[in-house]
């Protein structure tokens, strides 16, 4: 499904702040894999996702998606195959447009935009049904402008938009980070349901170690642009937060600045 080969990316090359964000990443995802991605700040998690989605060109390496080498494809072309949600709810939705209009934009992911009415009554019914599944009461607010929604509602909408047209790959880049705990858990429940219903191949970056263990069938840990630990299946299921922190210490040879944050439930 997705293969990342020897991906390297250097920021600010030739300056004092030069940083190797991706130091040779090899990663292969089978169809239906749900991979959680953990690592400290600056480990390269977001860089990896942005490289896959096409927002950051790689210095070296290849990205093959669904059998096609997409390394040279611009982001808008890869978008036909990839849905991505960022941390900031403002990134994934359009504030000045209504909920229905946002969803209509997402419904045509990767397809030609035609000169026909965007929100047809049939489409509006579909949107209402899909919104109802989120359980946030948005199904009766199709004509409300997104600017009037809370951050959590916007992120839930972004989630629906990212998955509406059944992408080949779903990338979640700490998409719960800016939400309050209650909303985060609602959005996470919706995420898991959409991923399992659509059998979506997914990569999810998270800071929540317990969540990283609980969700998905695979886990990778990044440090300084490398995959320093990977687990799958029963091995992953058997992990504990404490054992993950130990793995991190062993792999990186350093103590985390604040273990408490990572160990917190």
């Amino acid at each position: 499904m997705l293969t990342v080969e020897a991906a390297r990316k250097r920021f600010l090359a030739g300056t004092a702040e030069e940083m190797l964000a991706l130091a040779g990443i090899d990663l292969s995802l089978a169809a239906g894999d749900v991979v959680t991605v953990i690592g400290s700040n600056g480990a390269g998690k977001s860089t990896l996702l942005k490289a896959i989605v096409g927002l950051l060109p790689l210095d070296e390496g290849r990205i093959v998606l669904d059998g096609r080498d997409v390394t040279a494809w611009p982001a808008h072309r890869r978008a036909a195959l990839i849905g991505r949600i960022a941390q900031d709810p403002h990134e994934g939705t359009c504030a000045a447009m209504t909920i229905a209009e946002n969803l209509a934009l997402a419904a045509r992911r990767g397809e030609r935009r035609r000169l026909v009415r965007a929100v047809t009554p049939a489409l509006a019914r579909t949107f209402r049904d899909r919104l109802a599944e989120l359980g946030l009461g948005l199904e009766n607010r199709l004509d409300t402008r997104v600017a009037f929604l809370s951050g959590g509602q916007r992120q839930a909408l972004a989630l629906l938009m990212a998955t509406l047209a059944q992408p080949r790959l779903l990338l979640l880049d700490e998409h719960l980070a800016n939400l309050d705990p209650r909303t985060a858990s609602l959005v996470m429940t919706a995420t898991e349901r959409l991923v399992s219903d659509g059998r979506l191949t997914t990569m999810m970056v998270t800071h929540d170690m317990a969540q990283a263990i609980r969700v998905g069938n695979r886990l990778i840990m990044l440090h300084q642009g490398r995959i320093v630990f990977a687990a799958a299946g029963p091995e992953k299921a058997a992990l504990t937060v404490a054992s993950l922190v130990e793995k991190f210490h062993a792999a990186s040879g350093e103590r985390l600045a604040d273990d408490r944050v990572l160990l917190a439930p």
Binding site: V53, P74, C94, M97, L105, A106, R108, G110, V119
Partner: protein, 294 residues
Amino acid sequence: MQQLLSIFSNSVEQASLYAFLALGVLITFRFFRFPDLTAEGSYPLGGAVAATLLVNGVNPFAATAAAMLAGALAGMATALIHTRLRVNNIISGIVVMTALYSVNLTVMGRANVSLLAVSSVFEDFARAAGLGDTVGTTILLAVILVAVGSAALFWFMRTELGLAVRATGENEAMIGSLGVDTAWTKMVGLAISNAAIALSGALVAQDNGFADIGMGIGILVTGAAAVMIGESLFGDGSILRWIGAVLVGVLVYELLVVLALRVGLDPIDLKLVTAALLLASLSLPRFRTRLLGP
């Protein structure tokens, strides 16, 4: 009373001719957040193309349509310079606007083309409708055109392509992540905007009876003032409200200009008044909240 009526009909006439200019500016400045300066060149381009074709015996409606096409090409040129050569949006507009000055002179062959000897869309329309060629028929045709144009714009902005064009102005990263090539949507948006602006230029030239190389100077301020006045009166909101606000804005603007001229303002000072009106409409919302509360 007679005086009031003539002030009003004069304003409505001007407003209906400038409405397309204001709609064009609305598309770029508001829907698109692209401060497109091409307008200063595409407006006289519309006048120049229409005038040149008219004096060469082309049908007035065909000449006006050709003017729109020329305006669309000018907008596409700006979009291509911005997206392909990655030039800043304001600079891209200035480049095309400057180049168009020479293009317009070349098209017309001289600085001013008189249309007094040829029939205009307004005269053709009056003849076809069996009406006299008066201010009334000019207003009637212009209002019909504005109504059709506004309805078309409203329809377009709710199509799949129209939504993508709007989203390009609102959240370019997001619409890109949904698989839309924003270089394409920018070209569509700027083409429509400048086609409308060139149409305005073609209509004004035919109403005035001449096209002039200098007719575009300061025209962007007129369009922007109309948009801002409408906005400060109605606020922003749905597409329908935006379009309505702009049409009212252009009427209010023209009323103020006609009034200013009637009370004895020297036409030389007109651009000064235009600039002051734009400034007033920009600062008015601040005072409105101060006067009426937030």
